[in-house]
Structure formats: C-alpha cells, structure tokens
C-alpha cells in the first residue's frame, strides 16, 4: 500500500511545525515499511488548523488538523484505515469555512504542488496567457478594464487604466513591477499566494508584459519573507525551463523575463515610488507625483507597478472573461477580495469572498471572534494606516467606498482583531511611533509630526493637561493628513483619530502598574 500525504510548505504551517512533521511522517512510514509520497502543498488558508495534513483517498483528500508530532502515529493509523480520529476534519473540499468562499484568485492555493509548472497547467494554469497571446494589446487591456479590477495594494486604483497608460506610452524599454513588499500587519495574502501558487503571479505579470509591451519584470519581495523569495525564484526557473518565460514564450515570438529583488526592511518601500527608488539601488525616498510611474517609472521608463494580488487576479480574468470577474462584488468594488483574518482571532486565515460582505459577518461569523474567548472590542482594517472600528460599526460592507465613507480603508484586506484588554491610546501611540520609525524623512509633517504625536499621547497617558493635548493631537493629525506627500504620513492619522473617536475613554491618565518601570 502506498499513501499520498500533503503537508503544507506555507510559512504559517512551517512556523507551527510542518517541516518537523514531514520528518516524523517519513520516519513512521519507514518503520512500518509503508510507501509514502509527501507533497508540500501551499496552505488552504485555514490557519488555525495548521499544520493541516491531508491524505489522498478515492473520495477526495481527507484533512486532519492541527497535527502535532505526537499525533503522527495515530493520524497515520487513521489514514491507512480511513478511520476516525479526533483531528479528522473530513473531505478538505467540503469544509464549511472553505465552501463559504468564492475562490477565484486562490482557487489552486493549498491544492497544487507549487513547484512543478505541470501541476499548475493541469489545474487550468496558463490558459489566460495562452488566450492573451492570441489577442492584441488593446484587447487585453480592455478585458482588464471591463473586469473592474482595482489595485489590491491599498489605493484601489483601476488596474486597466494604469495598463492603458503604459501601453500607450512610447519608449525603448518598459517595465512590469510586482509590489510584494506586504508590510501591513495583519496581511499575508501576497505571501501565501507566492508560496502556494507562484505561477499565477508569474502568469499575471507575463500577461501585463504582453499587454503593455514590456519585456522585463521585477518582483520586489520584502526580506521578512524568506520562503516566498525561494518559492518565486524557483517558480521563475521552472517557468523558464518550460518555455513560459524567456525570449520566445511558447513559440509566440513574444519575450518576457522576470527577476526577484529582495527588500531590506523598510516599510515605506511598499509605497510605489519609494519601491522604484529602492529597485534602482537608492534610499527609499518617496518621489513626488507627477510624473506617474506609468509615464516615468523604473529607470525613468514607463512602468506598470501592481500589487501581487492584482497580478494574481489577471489569469482568471483573461481565461474566464472580464464579465465572469465583474459579476461578483458590489458598487464599484468588483470581483473578490482575499481577506485576511488576524490577531486575536479564533478562526484566522485567508477568506476570499466577493465584495459586499459586512465587517460583522467577517469578524463574528467567519472569524468566530477572539481566541481568548473575550469580547471583540476593536478591529483594525487595512494595516497600520487603517482605522480602528468598534463593533457598533460592524454593519459596514466590505467595499472601498463604504469604508472611505466611514473614515476607514480596506487597504490590502487585513482585519486585525483585538479583545477587550486592548488599550486604544497605546495603539494610537504605536501608530505614531511606527510612522516616526518608518518615515522616509522627505516631509516635515510626517517626520516631525509623528514624533510629536508620540510625545503628545505620552502626555495624555500621564494625565498632563489632557484636554489641551487632545486638541494638539487632533491638530497634528490634521497637519499630517493634509501636509504629507504619501499615505504613510497622510493616513497614520486614521488609526489615531479613529481610536480617539470611538474609544475616548482610553485617552486619559493610565493607572500606573507597580511592576512597570
């Protein structure tokens, strides 16, 4: 008898013991003289169940999780006997948390082996590019525009318009840049797709190259993501070997090549112009716009710069048609969003769903509230530049405009949950401190304002002239909001002001704890 077992290679599984499990399964199998094939799939995104191990059966893949070293022998017994086990979750595809989702971008993630390009192709990969190769530039751009896809990196700018600008530009060289800097706390979708389905990102970038007439692309990945860096490098090599990248893509006469570049621990380098500076080997100082990167981007050439998830949405659109994508969603937010549920969360992970679902459904029903079991007091949506929402605002639908109307943003789709032990003036202070540390230094409101913000919140927390200092804080926030060049300085006031607005009781003297220094 031989078994095919799946143990994720995703960093979220590895950080809770997946690599050790591989060794343990191999050792157990050897002891039993059992033939076992272990596939390192990506994660399906049910991260509270990681490491989630699956076994192939005639009825589909049966999942077990979370599996620890001590469970390996008994899980293997259950796999062989197709019998019961406390950790048995049933057929993976039938797990409710997965069935509630609409997986367009993450359709293969956790299912395929991310390494061989053949597995990608066998799961409908490269159909989008194959179709794109038979189309002209205007046709591809029109599909992207009609799909309604908006940039998933945070700003929500229509992807089709950006591509058209670059397609129309005349230049000797053009570039495609993938923003894989994913610095927002509470987000990990870029990381997951790069580790679990790297070819979908590669295919999306290749389609972009064909569409706008660029032959070279860069993927800028943050250094905090060592597994994603390896996965993308391996993916690029495999795509080249198979002829999906290179001088003559699958005999089409079209050329496109890719290179991975690694960041160096600067949050601001996620801002597109700072990223371009960094790619050129300079300090990540934000550039003033105009000129837009679409006109003068990398090395001064017209450049498409998009988030990982924006590129990863493209193959579906080209393969299934713009309408198939645009049919999902609400208002001007079309398609699906891979939402990330994080922090103090019971069922944390990746939940891809059409726009329009409410914040409350996501936090209470899907995420199941907190893992500490205490009531949810606040959630931060959209990373360190996103607003804090109290449960009274959980009726807000997940939609760019609906969030903006409530002084928030959906950003890159991360939701960080806090229970009732959270101290909101401390979180506001953190937002200011983070801005001070990560500021590129170009504008005064951001560089100095954030440091003043930290000092002011400290005074409030010490009980010094609280009313006056609250006014100072609001003033500072306004100055930053309107006087900053980019969204680091410009949006840091969102977490600060939302904390103050919805949790004013936390902004006053903090009781001194004896043990504190």
């Amino acid at each position: 008898m031989s078994l095919k077992v799946y143990i994720p290679c995703d960093a979220a599984a590895v950080c809770v013991g997946a690599d050790e499990l591989v060794a343990a399964f191999e050792a157990q199998a050897a002891q039993r003289k059992l033939e076992i094939e272990i596939v390192r799939n990506g994660s399906r995104g049910l991260l509270w169940l990681e490491p989630m191990v699956e076994v192939a059966t005639p009825n589909g893949r049966v999942a077990f999780g979370p599996v620890e070293d001590k469970d390996v022998a008994s899980v293997l017994d259950a796999m062989i006997a197709d019998g019961p086990h406390d950790l048995r979750l049933g057929i993976a595809d039938d797990i409710t948390w997965l069935k509630k989702q609409t997986r367009l971008t993450f359709v293969r993630c956790g299912i395929v082996d991310p390494r061989p390009v053949e597995d990608y192709v066998a799961h409908d990969g490269y159909k989008g590019l194959t179709r794109a190769l038979s189309m002209d530039s205007a046709g591809i751009v029109a599909d992207v525009t009609t799909s309604g896809l908006r940039g998933r990196g945070g700003a929500g700018f229509p992807t089709g318009i950006k591509w058209k600008t670059v397609a129309d530009a005349q230049a000797d060289r053009k570039f495609i840049v993938c923003n894989a800097d994913e610095g927002d706390s509470g987000t990990f979708a870029d990381r997951m797709i790069m580790e679990g389905d790297p070819f979908v990102v590669i295919e999306g970038m290749t389609i972009a190259g064909i569409a706008v007439g660029a032959t070279k692309g860069y993927i800028y990945i943050r250094s905090e993501y060592p597994h994603a860096i390896i996965a993308m490098e391996e993916g690029i090599k495999a795509a080249k070997r198979a002829g999906w990248l290179g001088d003559n893509i699958k005999g089409s006469g079209r050329a496109f090549d890719l290179e991975v570049r690694v960041g160096a621990g600067a949050y601001v380098c996620g801002e597109e112009t700072s990223l371009l500076e960094s790619l050129e080997g300079r300090r990540g100082i934000v550039r003033a716009k105009p000129p837009l990167p679409a006109h003068k981007g990398l090395f001064g050439k017209p450049t498409v710069i998009n988030n990982v998830l924006s590129f990863a949405a493209i193959p579906f659109i080209l393969d299934n048609g713009a309408k198939a994508y645009a049919d999902y969603g609400m208002g001007r937010s079309r398609g699906t969003m891979p939402i990330q549920l994080a922090g103090n969360v019971k069922f944390g992970g990746l939940f891809e769903v059409a726009f329009g679902i409410t914040l409350g459904e996501l936090v209470d029903d899907i995420a199941g509230g907190t893992f500490t079991g205490k009531p949810v007091r606040a959630v931060q949506v959209g990373g360190p530049l996103g607003a804090y929402f109290p449960p009274s605002m959980f009726d807000t639908p997940f939609d760019y405009e609906a969030f903006a109307k409530r002084d928030g943003l959906i950003g890159h789709g991360g939701i960080t949950i806090f229970d009732d032990s959270v101290d909101m003036s401390k979180m506001a202070r953190f937002a200011m401190e983070f801005c001070a540390v990560e500021s590129c230094g170009k504008c005064t409101p951001c560089r100095i304002g954030s440091t003043r913000g930290v000092e002011t919140i400290d005074k409030i927390r010490r009980g010094e002239q609280v009313a006056d200092n609250l006014l100072v804080l609001q003033d500072l926030s306004n100055t930053m909001k309107f006087g900053s060049l980019c969204a680091l300085g410009g949006f840091t006031p969102y977490p600060v002001m939302s904390a103050l607005k919805h949790f004013p009781e936390d902004f006053g003297p903090v009781p001194q704890v004896q043990a504190a220094e």
């Binding site: 960093a11 590895v14 706390s185 990990f188 969360v345 960080t416």
Partner: protein
C-alpha cells in the same frame, strides 16, 4: 564572532562586488550579499562599492543607513527577532517580549553581554493569524506562548 560567517577580507569583498557588477541598480543586492558573507557590512566595503559602481561614497553610505536590515557591526551568535506589529500585539506579544527581555537581560535592539543573543524587533512576518511570531536565525516560529517562548530563549542562548 559567529562561526557561520567569513572573517572580513577585502579580496573576498571585491569578488562579491564583481559578481553583481552586471545587476542594474544593484547596490542593495550587493549590500545583502556582503552582509550574507560577513554577517554585517564592514565599513571598508562602502567605498569599495562606491568605486565599483561609480557612485559617491556618501550615496552608498546613505543607502546603507536607510535600510533597517543592514548591520554596522556583527550581531550576537544568535539573532532573535520578535514581531512587534499590531496583530502580534493583539495576540499577547507585549507580555512575551517583556518576558524575553527579562530572561535575556537586554532590551530589544541590544545584544547580551556574552554576545550570544541579539534581540531585535521585527514588524510583521506575515504570520499574523498564527501570532505572536518570531524568527530565530532565519527560522520562523508562530503561536508563541510562554512555554514556546521559553524554549526559544533556551535555544537562543546555546
């Protein structure tokens, strides 16, 4: 000094710089490679990069100091990075950080007196649903609680 790294050698540094000479805009690529070899970016490397790439020394120095990743001096034998970003704070990261600081006897950003452990903050490892998270010498660890943190600290002090 950490045995995993090579001792400083100007010849070796020249070799590394040369290996990336063809990389367009590759100053950060070279700095990473130098740090990978020596464990930090030794000061003499800066003018060497500048000369090879036809840049001013100030320019290269500016790049080197802008990015949090690059070290001015060797780290301890082990580097423990604890995530201090929001999701890890929400999951109890503050108390665990305090615990690490107390047991190692150093604050974040410092190295123990015996040069064994450098303790540093990191801002998000993308492991925010299995938080709190940390990284020990490049190995990632999630779902930290007191027990797992203590085990990590023992390992770091070896």
């Amino acid at each position: 000094m950490n045995a995993a790294y090579e001792p400083w050698s100007a010849a070796r540094c020249t070799e590394i710089i040369g290996a990336y000479a063809h990389v367009e805009g590759g100053v950060i690529v070279v700095l990473h490679a130098i740090q990978h070899a020596f464990g930090y970016v030794p000061e003499p490397a800066i003018p060497m990069i500048a000369e090879a790439r036809n840049l001013s020394r100030a320019e290269v120095h500016g790049v080197f100091t802008f990015y949090h990743d690059f070290r001015h001096e060797p780290a301890g034998k082990h580097v423990l990075k604890i995530c201090r970003a929001e999701a890890c704070q929400a999951a109890g990261g503050d108390a665990l950080t305090a615990r690490a600081e107390q047991q190692l006897g150093v604050k974040l950003g410092h190295t123990t007196a015996d040069d064994r452990v450098t303790l540093e903050p990191i801002y998000c490892l993308g492991l925010c649903a299995t938080a709190p998270s940390a990284m020990l010498d490049g190995r990632i660890v999630g779902r930290l609680d007191e027990k797992r943190m203590d085990a990590l600290l023992v390992e770091a002090q070896r």
